[in-house]
Amino acid sequence: MNKVSLFIPCAVDAVLVSVGEATVRLLARLGFDLIYHEEQTCCGQPAITAGYLDLAREAARRFIEIFEEDEVVVSPSGSCVSTIRNEYPRLFADEPEWQQRARQLGQKVYELSQFLVDVAGIEDVNARFEGKLAYHKSCHVLRALGIDRQPQMLLQNVKGAELVPMNLAHECCGFGGQFSVKYPYISEAIVGDKVKNFLASGADVLVVSDPGCLLNISGYLHRHHPERKVRHLAEVLAGTI
């Protein structure tokens, strides 16, 4: 009975499809039976951060109804998992019944590395990569979910790879959803520093665990340093770099 329900965020569904594929291959290869609810859509994070809480509540109810029967839900996005775990209960502060349902669901929704290490007890996925890796500690993974050790442990156990330290690895990459579009001049300064630190780390690949960071950093790298790579944790672990 190793069923895992996949929560594939919209950015992965529409843009970063390879991250979704890597997640599938990784989990399947580890013997998990995957379920994917085809009616799933957006979890409502953009509505929450923009302040449209009534719209977010609609999205949240829908999400809860789709996923609440699952045994465990796994997603390759820390910020979307944090939305379910941390934001949903707050959204329903005045609706105790929904809040209860949100809490119950939240307890079984996991970010990928958190699921592998904390729930399934897997610290080595038998991946291989020849070269140096640096890990960017995506904000929601690190601070909203408190996940730090898990992704690094998985990366350390990738055969042939060396996990190298990176200055200010814990600092935001400057994405912030709407922020990157509304305040591009500030966002640029932040992502520019992130990339500087990546280059200085000497790593071949920068690993992130959130689709937002991936879009932001890869977009910047493609413009300024097209020869450098940033990849999602799932891609490194699935060996699809």
């Binding site: 009975m1 190793n2 919209c10 992965v12 569904d13 529409a14 843009v15 970063l16 499809v17 594929e21 599938v24 989990l27 399947a28 290869r29 580890l30 013997g31 998990f32 995957l34 085809e38 009616e39 859509t41 957006c42 409502g44 953009p46 302040g51 449209y52 809480l53 719209l55 999205a59 829908r62 465990v72 707050r90 307890q107 904390d118 729930v119 399934a120 904000c139 601070r143 909203a144 408190g146 600092e171 935001c172 400057g174 922020f179 990157s180 579009v181 305040y183 591009p184 001049y185 966002s187 640029e188 300064a189 932040i190 520019g192 879009l215 932001n216 890869s218 977009g219 493609h222 413009r223």
Partner: protein, 506 residues
Amino acid sequence: MKLRPEDFQSVAREEVAKTAQRDFVIMVAGVFNYLCDTAMGAYGDKEEQDKARALGAQIRENTLHNLPQLLEEFEKNATSNGIQVLWAADAEEACQLVKGLVEKHQVKTITKGKSMISEEIGLNHFLEQETGVKIYEGDLGEFIVQQRGTLPFHIVGPAINLTVQEIASILQEHIDMPYTETAAEIVSYVRTFLRDKFERADMGITGVNQAIASTGSLILVENEGNIRWVTSAPRVHVALMSIEKVCASFADAFHLLGLLTRNCTGQAITSYVSILNGPRRDDEEDGPEAMYVVIVDNGRSAAYQDPHLKEALRCIRCGRCGIQCPIYGRVGAYPYGWCYPGPMGNVIAPLIMGLDRTRDLYEACTLCGGCQSVCPGGTPHLDLISRYRHMKVTGDERFGGTRVSLKERAAFELMNRGMQNPALYKSGLKIARSYINRRSQDGYISSLPGPMSGWFTCRDFPQLPEKSFRERWQEDLQREAAQLAGSAAAQQEAAAHNYHLKHRPR
């Protein structure tokens, strides 16, 4: 130049372009973060540090829970210590009260200890205009900023963004200092200059770090000794505090101060800690003849009425959130247009200056949570910022918010509904794909007109794959996954790891 939060964008653009300043601030922030982390190490490992912060948050919670009672108790005990307690509803009233004291005591010269609340109410400017007294800031950084006529760059390092050359020029221009780039010579010149003022001052004005309700005492921390001087030498001492700066007991205050100094300068305690229990008594040699505490509300009690918004009053002004903030690190203090820059300003300014004027403060945030993770007062920055965004959308009139336009709302609603409806989502994605991919070169697009254009000032965007994940799943991924999971190797994996899904709620 008078800075205002409504000019955030234009000022931020200018500031972000100063790359040398930016690199310097990031470097200094790194050093301070290191010092503060090291100092926090005195509490023990990460878990113990979290406990210390949690206790700080609890003390602040108690204060907010019992605020009216604590203030009354403080007033009663301070009064019996001979301190006169005055109440000001807003900035104007606070300034008028101090002006009244200046006139009553025939004050000519004022020296000051660094105080954020006096910056908040614009006291220096007001008194100089209205009374003609001379005011001298006693803190070196604040003194430099005062001469320069700008906002403090950071609440504990007001002039941290200025180079020694800039400082030398400012002091040469304003206090006739012979130009020197030697820090020790600058300090020595300012010291001599200020000592004379300290000796002649009739009134000292300071802020308050914590007021103790149970004894009616004030505690002030500093490193330069100027506050000690300002509170003991002049005839009159006026301390300004905002309503939330009170706590129940000395034990509470000292825990908070331990967190404050560790998160401020990375010190276990500052070089000077002054505990003031009233004016000079008959048998004492030092101390002011008269001592006043002005308790300033300035919009805080309106926030206090709301069970969620009152959380914005937890701050103890350590400034740590600023050095954690990626936005503050790049744009500095000036865009915030007020004396509280960075995350601490993002949460307090909207409640005091109104949601409309401060829109960029709570919008220019990536919600990274760096601030919240270090805050010793337990300020829920992210929750507050999300609330302000929501209050803007709905037009919360209590705090000067105008509802967003119907057009803006309709556009968002349409997009959101589209995202929620699988059929609409699918057709929307199709349209977006063909629109975006038409512009693609080598798998990326480098510009798009319209609301997304900001993205492309420094970044490209990948073209959208011909098939979405959902489509890939339906087509063959699902089958592939089942095969992979069913393979002998995977089954072996599964058996070897013997997975048991133990749901561990966090």
